[in-house]
């Protein structure tokens, strides 16, 4: 475990062409890390996330991604992810290959990855055309009952990036609130980078709460506000208003590009990104 700046962590752990999972289900989405990947102009990434959300909309729109593994690609409660749609419907700014699952299928694939099994099993995809368009979804026969069950290949990212509330100096990471598939994505990955709101000398006794032990963590990055406009339970709320505004920003290629240039590319880091939103208001 190392303490790195976000710039260093992305330089080190996110080369172009990597399989990258930025996880966090609505909660704790690592926006700052995604923006730094955009700044460092990574290309040909295989992006992995259950819900691409705004962060992958931005990364796809900025041309970082060649392939997307996902299970639901909307702006929650708002509508479409317009940059994702534009890539799929019109190949802009470049074509995007889809590896599409259901939530249950993708969760099973992460679990298999974390357990270092080659596949996950589920009662799933019943009567669903996803089976016909995604050759990775297959089936297996139960050796006891003879039933046919669906299988998904394990997901094992080269690097998983998470955001969390806090880490201690050794790199133990504590997560509080909705965890989604964060733990499975972390354990399935070769490298694990975690941006955190706060670094403390020592975490409180954990008992059954969610901790990623330091020896699973490749790098910890101190990055307050790093999940914004997503949220960090106990630190700041989800900016639902921003999610609603994003619809108009992202609908148009020019307004999207201008927003990204102004708020991400022209800014050296996340602190400056956050400050730029204040200026815009």
């Amino acid at each position: 475990m190392e303490h790195l700046s976000l710039r260093q962590a992305v330089e080190r752990f996110v080369p172009s062409g990597a399989r990258v999972a930025l996880e966090g289900f609505t909660h704790l989405i690592p926006f700052a890390a995604g923006h730094e990947i955009i700044r460092q102009q990574r290309r040909d990434l295989h992006l992995i996330r259950m819900t691409p959300d705004l962060i992958y909309d931005q990364m796809i729109g900025m041309g970082c991604a060649a392939r997307l593994t996902f299970s639901w690609g909307g702006n929650p409660g708002v509508g479409s992810l317009h940059r994702l749609r534009d890539a799929v419907e019109h190949g802009w700014p470049r074509p995007l290959e889809l590896d599409e699952h259901s939530h249950a299928g993708m969760a099973a694939a992460y679990c298999a990855g974390a357990a270092r099994l080659p596949f996950g099993v589920l009662r799933g995809y019943v009567g669903a055309d996803l089976v016909t368009v995604n050759p990775a979804i297959r089936s297996i026969t139960c050796p006891y009952t003879g039933e046919e069950l669906a299988t998904v290949p394990a997901i094992n990212p080269d690097v998983t990036i998470l955001h969390a509330q806090r880490a201690d100096r050794k790199g133990n990471v504590a997560i509080h609130g909705i965890v989604g598939a964060q733990r499975e994505a972390a354990l399935a990955a070769t490298a694990l980078v975690v941006t955190v709101e706060e670094i403390v000398d020592e975490l409180p006794p954990a008992m059954n709460s969610v901790v990623l032990p330091h020896w699973l963590v490749s790098a910890v990055v101190h990055c307050p506000g790093g999940a914004y406009p997503s949220y960090a339970q106990g630190c700041y709320a989800r900016d639902n208003s921003f999610y609603q505004q994003w619809d108009a920003i992202a609908r148009d290629r020019a307004s999207f590009t201008e927003w990204m240039e102004r708020h991400v590319l022209a800014r050296p880091d996340h602190k400056s990104f956050l400050a730029s939103l204040g200026e815009a208001a």
């Binding site: 289900f25 609505t26 909660h27 259950m50 819900t51 996902f70 299970s71 639901w72 690609g73 909307g74 929650p76 409660g77 708002v78 479409s80 992810l81 994702l84 749609r85 799929v88 419907e89 599409e100 259901s102 939530h103 249950a104 969760a107 099973a108 992460y110 679990c111 589920l122 009662r123 799933g124 019943v126 009567g127 669903a128 055309d129 996803l130 368009v133 039933e147 069950l149 909705i178 965890v179 989604g180 598939a181 733990r183 499975e184 709101e197 307050p224 506000g225 914004y228 406009p229 949220y231 339970q233 630190c235 700041y236 709320a237 989800r238 900016d239 639902n240 208003s241 609603q244 956050l274």
Partner: protein, 261 residues
């Protein structure tokens, strides 16, 4: 408080189908409103599960996303997402699943993936999310969708989630363990599957509309039940509770976020 919108009536009609103590797998938007309206009126002990991992949650305002902090704070507990799908949904612990979609066919099959060919889509939709397995495993599902001939279609562009597939006993031949669609709540009334054919049939109308309007909104020849129920309009209490909930919600969603310094 007089008058009501079709959206309000849809939400209220969906809420009325729930019962106290039932375990609901809740989606965002209208299903979330319906479930919480039920909880705030006649089903105080309804159990709400959101796929984000929040179990038994009691939000004061509706979440915009499936994983707003409000859901976690008011939950009986929060579990990892894989457990929600394997232990709770696939485990057969869910009484009612709510689904929406861009397209539905006469057997309650749903498309939320794509309009046009998958590889060259006319419109790329958000995709499956939890729907295929909610459709398969919940003991019953309620579908909530505004109707139009473009959304209530004779042939789906893509089968995202199974209803009764080709109808009749087709669903029973699959590994789906849940009972399939129990009702489809539209903005004109309620469709329910006929006993043998499983074809969606108009069984109830909203009080302000007609069979002709219902038929015009559906892209296949809509079958009618022998007895057509006319739903009661919203009660003052239903309407007041729903509007207060929506008001609290939009106020909360407008609230500026304070970032740490």
């Amino acid at each position: 408080m007089t008058g009501w919108t079709r959206d309000e009536m849809m939400t209220i009609a969906a809420a009325r189908m729930l019962w106290d103590g039932c375990v609901c797998f809740v989606g965002i938007g209208l299903p979330s409103a319906a479930c919480n309206l039920a909880r705030l009126t006649y089903a105080p002990d309804i159990v709400l599960i959101y796929e984000s991992g929040t179990i038994g949650t009691r939000p004061d305002v509706l979440p915009l996303s499936i994983g707003d902090g409000e859901l976690a704070e008011t939950a009986a507990c929060v579990v990892p997402l894989p457990e929600i799908f394997s232990y709770y949904l696939q485990g057969g612990r869910v009484d009612v699943g709510f689904l929406g979609a861009a397209q539905i066919d006469r057997f309650g099959n749903l498309n939320s993936t794509v309009i046009g060919p998958y590889d060259a889509p006319h419109t790329r939709l958000p995709g499956a999310g939890g729907a295929p397995e909610i459709a398969a495993h919940a003991r019953q599902t309620f579908v909530v969708m505004k109707a139009s001939p473009r959304s209530f279609v004779s042939k789906l562009d893509f089968y995202t989630s199974a209803g009764f597939l080709g109808g009749g006993s087709a669903r029973e031949a699959t590994s789906a363990r849940g009972g399939g669609p129990k009702a489809v709540v539209t903005d004109f009334g309620i469709l329910t599957p006929a006993e043998d054919s499983r074809e969606l049939t108009l069984t109830a109308l909203f009080p302000d509309t007609t069979v002709e309007a219902a038929r015009a909104a559906v892209g296949w020849q809509l079958a009618l039940a022998d007895e057509l129920e006319i739903l009661d309009p919203p009660t003052p209490n239903e309407l007041a509770t729903l509007r207060a909930l929506n008001e609290r919600t939009s106020e909360a969603h407008r609230r500026p976020v304070e970032l740490p310094a």
